[in-house]
Symmetry: C2
DNA sequence: AGGGTGGGTTTCCTTCAAGTAACCACGGGG
DNA sequence: CCCCGTGGTTACTTGAAGGAAACCCACCCT
């Protein structure tokens, strides 16, 4: 792995670009939910705990702009909207897996040490 | 990978705990610098681009609290302080590598599509 | 006397993500 | 008639992160 490149200094290194998407308070957890398969707005809210509708809408729109999630609106009453990962979103699976694994292993060894 | 666990809803799922450390504007890039080997304060500043002394100090102290970096102060005039990764910090290497790889591959395919 | 050095601290200010609360359209059910 | 559920929107407020600029020690060199 070559951690060096000219533009890394300018602040748009690959790390930062990935973290623009996967960082932040909710994005990773939303993607995690959708790695299970498509879900509707209310299901996402339920799976994410204390996220407000405003923030969830915001984050989903942002992730849609980034072509990470796709929004499938089924008209009718009441309206139902399903969210699913795009291929680009799916491609984040190994990244999320790495983050998840570190969190799990670390929790264990951190507790063991103290 | 089992993306489910009871406490995931409470917001302290393994993903979030890893991102507490690796997320944020500078943390990942600081760790990236130190994966090259120990560096001194000024070297870090140089490698990171436009980070102010205040913020860098802040981030380094935080990472030290998390036992990700170790601070080696060599007294004298002028004072010299070296920062190095702890084993816990080193263990983040695969995580950073995954983030980095996604950023690189994505940059390519994103540009190709556009 | 004045400047450079390394590794900061302090104060102030701006920005932005997130939270709170209220509201919307529909139609169905009681 | 009024509320419920779905998937939001809008306006307002808050808190924390981050940046800018100035300053600090203690010593060396000129």
């Amino acid at each position: 792995m070559d951690w060096r490149s000219p533009e890394l200094v300018a602040g748009d290194c690959p790390l930062s670009r990935t973290l623009d998407i996967v960082g932040g308070r909710w994005n990773a957890m939303i993607i995690r939910e959708l790695l299970d398969g498509p879900k509707r707005f209310t299901q996402l809210r339920a799976g994410l705990g204390p996220v407000t509708a405003k923030v969830l809408t915001e984050r989903l729109r942002l992730l849609a702009d980034y072509d990470i999630v796709r929004r499938d609106e089924q008209r009718g009453v009441p309206p139902r909207v399903a969210y699913a990962l795009t291929p680009r979103g799916e491609s984040l699976r190994p990244v999320l897996a790495a983050l998840w694994r570190w969190g799990v292993r670390d929790e264990a060894s951190w507790a063991a040490a103290g």
